[in-house]
Symmetry: C2
Subunit: 426 residues, 2 copies
């Protein structure tokens, strides 16, 4: 007798494999491959000695050892939450008081990814709508798919999300009776994954204002995923979207220590509007009643000692060199092909390349197979889009990452990519 089948939930039926697992598998199967695909961080420059010292300080004293090895709290270590709040307000040239914020508005999570998930769970019912940049962070698309949410894409230009297009989309949704399903506008507002573009300074107050103006029947929130903010290589910092929300009602600010410090510590933090704090914390109570406490104690020490800030300064140098290596290599290799363009990011880890329209970069196209044969891997740009009602997404773009490889390897990877394109230009 065969066993009766499992009966899965609606959530399980909507949840898919990671969209990049095919490419991860390809990378594993290809020895000598240069991966310009992975969004991993440079592991030669982890602050190992600082983390080791912090850990020895914590475990070398009975009281702090007990505190770090006991259960933490659902919202996270208060000392670290206080530091996070101060950092963000300081970066924005303001104070917690001016933004109507206290440590109670700050939550620590298992990377910022967990906050993306929790927010969706407390906000979305299947059929709700989220507005995302086109292209956007493909892992978040997976969350939204799991949660049964419809993604509507707002185009971008060099200044990030096109706010005229955003207003036009919201007006259309209003006139067609769909606005009541719109819960959230999602933006990766610094050195975006996947394009490397940032939301321009003058658009920042406007974006929050648009959310406010279209919040007539119910509130439309802005989720500012600022994961790459601290990885800035050129130019001045831009004000966080939270700083344009003095009543603390519209903007969720989320970021992570994974990119600027170490992913193995797996700690993200968020600043939430008052009314979201209890619902998110209660749900996190059901998920895990608190992320890993020990690593929160480590991060608190790193920040308090100044080691964290020193690390950021040196890490920026490392990544700036890699970014420059990639941009120079792209100029050298692709400068003879004027139809191909790419972004020049001032931070983060990603460069976004646009090929001529007919040029297919994704699975089934010629380029990905040739690139793999030539020993280089990229992420096809189509993964960054959710198809609209017409089912069409751009298929002529790619994401390159300069995070993992050393400059020489980056240069060689770009050479291999150019070689893979030869014969496909026409």
């Amino acid at each position: 007798m065969s066993t009766a089948p499992l009966r899965f939930s609606g959530t399980a039926r909507r949840t898919g494999d990671s969209p990049i697992s095919y490419y991860v598998q390809k990378a594993l199967e290809t020895p000598g491959l240069i991966s310009l695909a992975a969004g991993l961080v440079d592991e030669s420059h982890f602050p190992v000695a600082d983390i080791r010292e912090a850990m020895n300080d914590i475990l070398g004293e009975a009281k702090s050892a007990k505190a770090a090895l006991q259960y933490g709290s659902t919202s996270g270590l208060p000392a670290l939450r206080e530091q996070c709040l101060k950092r963000v307000c300081h970066a924005d040239g303001t104070t917690p008081e001016a933004l109507n914020l206290t440590v109670n508005n700050v939550l620590l999570t298992t990377g910022s990814q967990q906050m993306l998930y929790l927010l969706g769970e407390i906000l979305f019912d299947p059929g709700d709508i989220v507005l995302c940049e086109g292209p956007s962070y493909f892992v978040y698309h997976g969350v939204l798919q799991s949660q049964g949410v419809k993604v509507i894409t707002v185009p971008m230009d060099a200044g990030g999300m096109d706010l005229n297009a955003l207003e036009a989309t919201l007006t259309h949704l209003q006139s067609t009776g769909q606005i009541e399903r719109v819960k959230l506008i999602y933006t990766v507002d610094y050195f975006q994954n996947p394009t490397g573009l940032s939301l321009a300074a003058e658009r920042r107050p406007k974006l929050v204002d648009i959310a406010r103006r279209f919040s007539t029947g119910h509130r439309i929130l802005v989720l500012a995923d600022s994961a790459y903010r601290e990885l800035r290589y050129d130019g001045p910092d831009l004000p966080g979207l939270k700083s344009f929300d003095p009543s603390n009602e519209f903007v969720i600010y989320t970021t992570t220590f994974s990119k600027p410090c170490a992913p193995g510590l797996k700690t993200g933090y968020s600043i939430l509007p008052h009314e979201l704090v209890a619902p998110v914390a209660n749900l996190k109570g059901s998920h895990d009643f608190g992320s890993t406490n020990l690593v929160q104690h480590i991060l608190t020490r790193l920040i308090a000692s100044g080691a964290y800030d020193r690390h950021i300064v040196s890490l920026r140098e490392v990544y700036r060199t890699k970014r420059d290596a990639m941009l120079t290599a792209l100029s050298n290799e692709f400068g003879d092909w004027p139809e191909v363009t790419w972004t020049k990011p001032g931070g983060g880890m990603y460069v976004w390349m646009t090929f001529p329209k007919h040029f297919r970069t994704g699975k089934g196209g010629a380029l990905i197979e040739r690139a793999l044969k030539n020993g280089v891997l990229y992420i096809p740009g189509e993964l960054g889009y959710r198809p609209g009602d017409d089912g069409i997404v751009p298929t002529n773009e790619i994401r390159l990452s300069f995070g993992v490889s050393e400059p020489d390897t980056i240069r060689e990877g770009v050479r291999r990519l150019r070689a893979a394109c030869r014969g496909l230009e026409a």
Copy 2:
């Protein structure tokens, strides 16, 4: 103009505050209080030196430091998953092969709590039914409430879940057309939270067999929450429920390193039937794409060096002494009151006391206020139940924990509890 209201999801509307937050608050407001309530672990006996040594080994060598501080994988560190699988199979006197298991069936999570949540999300739609012991782990009830699940309680006796009652309940659900909503039977099968009782040896194969027999239209799974298995103070170990599921189709085994090692490392592990592996891992990918990697490396070292097993041996001594202190104090203080009974657990952290029927232990009753005034706190037993269709739950029971306090404090706490009862006996 006032701001438009937030519109929360169905999940958010179903998710409540922790049921014990009232008592936690009371405890914080009462100086000198002895808490026999909290399920925290004894922090004087964390393996601090072992963890510190493991950490220095990991961070003292470039290759292992990089591996521990980089992103891990969604399912967790393969070396630790391998160790977990071997431990469970060894405890059951069997092998992974005999149980149709490989390392691919093992998942690491942010405490075992996260697995309780993930499983619910992939299995339950609102209106589904889970069968739980009465009483059961109240935090899990919170998860089930959040997920819109109906809990049906199966009574317990000294041998744990009453399997005749379980069969009768399933037969009733079958005859009333509700069996198709039954997805899971949940049992805390070793030194249960909250009663301290274990599922008797002879009931173990029978429980799995019942799940199998009632899986006609769809599969009914058994979730064995074995969090306290390693905290055993008397008698032989009992075989895990997984060992009675050689086709690996019916039983999910979940446990944690929080209780036997340190909650600050926040790592649980589970062994899953084949068909659950991909759905759970995919959903975990959306939640966080992997729990904290660094602590997984620490645990791997602790187990490999033997430090973990040595720690368990000494920890059992510590808790055995506390358990004995509580049982002796209960005999001394309550021996003159034959209507009051309590469990004598062979492991874990909890003793379950039953007062005469009229005796109300919960909020609004006389005992809790008097106990707080006398400087002792317990968990009212009613939190362990979800009301059935008749809305009635037992209100004359309490949970005492001997996990945190030292033996003298436990004795004093029990004395205070007895004093709080004086005048209420009639």
